[in-house]
């Protein structure tokens, strides 16, 4: 059921991309790693300036957040485990992966969110 919903939801978003008139929210969590110190951050588009909000929306689109394939992550020694949730138009979608399983297209978004989370500390 969830898969079906995700597919429909993802298709709609993939076709329409993120409309900058609508607000979106991101939640990022990074756990595990050698030091096992969790960091997390929440980002709301309405708290960003227009240029940054557009940049983040582009990163979400470029990683095909709503419809791209994510390889299965196996627990692996000392690798980070990332969880990203996006709330957009009242719907929420989540992806998660380890360092080794992270698709290359996610790197800019993960780098941006990791920096935000670490700056917050």
């Amino acid at each position: 059921m969830w898969k079906k919903f995700s597919a429909v939801f993802g298709l709609a978003l993939a076709c329409n991309l993120i409309n900058m008139q609508d607000q979106f929210q991101l939640h990022f969590e990074r756990s595990g790693g050698f030091a096992a110190i969790m960091v997390q951050v929440a980002v709301r588009s309405d708290s960003l300036d227009a240029k940054e909000a557009h940049k983040v929306a582009s990163m979400i689109e470029n990683c095909q957040f709503f419809d791209g394939e994510i390889p299965e992550s196996k627990p692996s020694p000392d690798q980070f485990y990332y969880v990203i949730r996006v709330l957009y138009r009242g719907q929420e979608q989540e992806v998660s992966f380890t360092d080794a399983a992270m698709p290359e297209r996610y790197r800019p978004l993960v780098h941006y969110l990791s920096l935000k989370a670490r700056e917050k500390k």
Binding site: G32, F34, E104, R107
Partner: protein
């Protein structure tokens, strides 16, 4: 061999230092080279193990991985090291480069040894054992490099990894789990030192880096009781258990029993080494289950009302 990812994600990257090459002057490259060498030497000279797979596998390390990557990991084939949070302003940085502590290098390489031997599943208690074995042999690499006895060693994991902005001596303490750091930003080191404080969590694959404090403290207790260089007896018991006895889903109690068996096989039943192993686990709240023969004997004596 050391490769430089040049702050990107492409692996392995540019060959920075091949086996036998002179020092490059790049701290991460040279620390990764020297640390891998010291780890290889510990396994080869003390435990007669030829590299990660015991077949002479090349040791490949990748340094300068990504930007602001405050981590090190084993990816199933290689060791990977980030530069810490060098992308933040200096007064906000928490981590130095991850090659800075030799025990981190020994820790990562040991994940490879565990993969080829016990294959401990990276979750819950088997995962915490996997982490603990990496801390144990990482610490032994450091102790041997400094020629320190169990009494002289600091038993810290990741000493020097935190910047001066952090109130902490290291990432973990095997001697006193839960005391390595206590910082306004990072909080307090969450490791337990005893089974009564075991942390039930789904985060970090079931708290593999948290509950590893319990077997870490057990090893410290054994090494301290035996005295001298920890790699000579305590390290040997743990290595043989990892190589020959432990299985993928073993928990703390099983590990305790197996190290107890190995101690008897290596040093004799009721030897000081075997009793030290029993005491080390007992101090962390793990009581050994004696084998059937010993158990029956005890029960039979009780049945007869003998002391």
């Amino acid at each position: 061999m050391i490769y430089d990812a040049e702050n990107g994600s492409a692996m392995p990257g540019r060959l920075a230092r091949a086996e036998g090459d002179a020092a490059t002057g790049d701290a991460a490259t040279d620390e990764a080279y020297d640390g891998a060498g010291a780890t290889f030497d510990l396994y080869y000279e003390i435990f007669e193990r030829n590299s990660i797979d015991n077949q002479g596998m090349d040791l490949i390390s990748i340094v300068h991985y990504l930007q602001g990557y405050d981590n090190a990991f084993w990816n199933g084939e290689r060791m990977v090291y980030g530069d810490g949070d060098e992308d933040l302003p200096e007064d906000q940085r928490l981590f130095n480069r991850f090659t800075i502590a030799i025990d981190i290098i020994g820790h990562e390489l040991t994940h490879g040894v565990t993969q080829y031997e016990a294959g401990l599943v990276y979750k819950d208690q088997p995962g915490a054992l996997n982490e603990s074995f990496s801390d144990v042999f990482g610490s032994l690499v450091k102790q041997r490099a400094k020629m320190q006895t169990a009494d002289e060693a600091d038993w810290l994991i990741g000493e020097g990894l935190f910047t001066s902005n952090v109130h902490g001596a290291g990432i973990r303490s095997m001697k006193n789990p839960g005391t390595a750091y206590n910082d306004p930003i990072l909080g307090k080191d969450p490791q337990p030192a005893h089974m009564r404080d075991y942390v039930q969590t789904t985060s970090d694959n079931g708290g593999v880096h948290i509950n590893s404090g319990i077997p870490n403290r057990a090893f410290f207790g054994v090494a301290k009781a035996l005295g001298g260089y920890a790699w000579q007896k305590a390290g040997k018991i743990w290595y043989i258990a990892l190589r020959d006895k432990l299985a993928a889903n073993d928990d703390f109690h099983t590990a305790a029993n197996k190290t107890f068996e190995v101690a008897a096989a290596l040093y004799g039943k009721n030897s000081p080494a075997q009793l030290a192993v029993q005491k080390g686990w007992d101090e962390v709240g793990i009581t050994l289950h004696l084998d059937k023969k010993q158990g029956c004997g005890k029960n039979f004596r009780q049945f007869l009302g003998w002391p």
